[in-house]
Amino acid sequence: MIIITNVFGTEFALKRPVTLDLESPTLRDVLVALQRHHEGPWKRILKEDLSLQEGCVVLVNGRNIASLEKLETEIHDGDEITFTVLAAGG
């Protein structure tokens, strides 16, 4: 499957396609795979146990995973996973 990773706030890597060898994964599976097999700022955003570093957020298709199923959110082909910070207004 191919997902799109989108990183901004800490550093920038906008809308990058990433191929994962996973079937019907949850977000937890995807994050583990990203940490293990793909370069990225994962340590700045995620702790070892996949909880978030302070001030960081993960969105799936534009929504904070806290309003979805958190780490158990199902990920589908083409989904966009955003890693960013709790920015504040404009």
Binding site: L14, E54, N64, A66, A88, G90
Partner: protein, 605 residues
Amino acid sequence: MKGFCGKLLEIDLTSGKTKNTTISDEIVEKYLGGRGLGARLLTDMVPAKTDPLSPENVLIFLTGPLTATMVPGSSKFVVITKSPLTHGWCDSYSSGRISVELKKVGYDGMVIRGKSNYPCYLRFDSKGVELREANLIWGRDSFETEKMLRESEGEAPVGVSSIGPAGEKLCRFACINSDLYRQAARGGVGAVMGSKNLKAIVVKGKKEVDLHDRKRLIELNRENYQRAKKSVVAQARMKYGTPLTLNITHTGGILPTKNFQFGTWEKALGKIDSVGVYKSTISHKACLSCFTHCGMITRVSEGKYKGSELEGPEYETLGMFGSNQLIDDLPAIIQANILCDKLGLDTISTGNVIGFIMECFERELISSKETEGVEIRFGDSEASLAAIEMIAYRQGFGDILAEGVKAVSERIGKDSDRFAMHVKGMEFPAYEPRGAFGSALSYAVSPRGACHRRAWPPAKEILGNYPPYTVEGKAEMVKGLYDENCILHSLLVCDMPAKFIPLSQDDYSKYFEAVTGEPVSKEDFRIIADRIETLIKMFNVREGFTRKDDTLPYRTLHEPLPDGPAKGQFIGEENLNRMLDEYYELREWDRLGIPKEETLKKYQL
């Protein structure tokens, strides 16, 4: 009370007379300063149904108890008046040295009434107040005006606020400019200043603000500075500024695109977002009295606008002149921003009005015959820049555009009101509410019209744990956000450091006590916020606003968003009504949105 000067300067421009008005400690305890004090003053000073551009309207500049202290974000002031754009309540915030100089000259603020019979500017220092002829600066832009006035004052720091040609021409969304790049932008405060024939205000102070416990204040700042250094959010904000928000709104599907037709715009990425702006950034800048430098100075390095430089553009300008007009040319947006600042226009309302007229062109509701041959079409930055000048000088069709999007749509007719994006006559800022239902409520109930400063729901609905496409719990969420910012805007401090360091109400209680010597609790703050918001509501009720004004444009209510994560979403009358009912109930207002008798008694109003 320490921190406060305890008096306001009142100037009647008709008679040229001035007087001092005492602000009692009791008033400060009830309303703090800034927005709260302004609510009391405007209600008491402006008779009902006053024409906002008449001499009877007042223009109130206010600071707050924390202004001109070392508290982060404390060089803010608010301009309060009856809005010529909405004919209701208006509070418009800005950073600027004038806030600090006002305190240093011994005033918490000033009230300007009447109308001078000649173009003038107001100058005061510890020796007294003078009204001076403004012949040399009238007609000049805000940048020239400020530079000339600063030069005439010599080396010493001086606060200068001025209007540009748009304010002189009574454009209903004209701003007041300070320190070149900072604006009290919204609601037409610049037009009210222009209606009084007042071009500028120059203030030069000497005194230091009397602080209760300076040592404690320094200690709190040291602690909070360390927190900011460790905060990933503060660091991101100081590095990338507000343009970072564009990446968030695009990702969340709430980036206004093509006059709020769409919620995402891929072409913005890398060009007019934080990545694009960062590439053009040459330095960072902090406001006076703030250790968080979230401002950015950008410079255009090549092309037609090579050498153009400004503090900005902020997210709002990127949204309203960028995605909302389908312009992905950052140098052109920087140019638009400079032009608006110089001519004295609110970039939000100006960008919104131009986006609206672009849609009218696209739908063939209007042609170049009516716009002096200028075709104002999506994606055309040259036309957009031309429109800015037409609006500021009220040239040709610009005379109509200068009245605001509501008035323009009424003039054009043909159901164009369905996509005239405003609330109560004030133009939407750069958040598409169909992708975050709390934003819809926040816009609808805002007493000054569509406003992003009273609450920032995307923090909860895109970045937080509130599901965005439901009305469930949104009234409570919005009230909480409103109350939080009401206190910050009354103290009066910038709400940005509060969000990104972050600082809680407990932190501000500590600052308040260090400055004034008076303890204040979270519960006190809640009561004060309820009192202030209820009083402001009463002001608008008095001016004839009803529940029907707490509404949203047809597009927001009925047209499904066609793209992005929020595809298919729209607010709907039923949802809006439910949120309004719940919000009014939490405020202890009746079902028509009118504060109940017992509520007025409870808050001693």
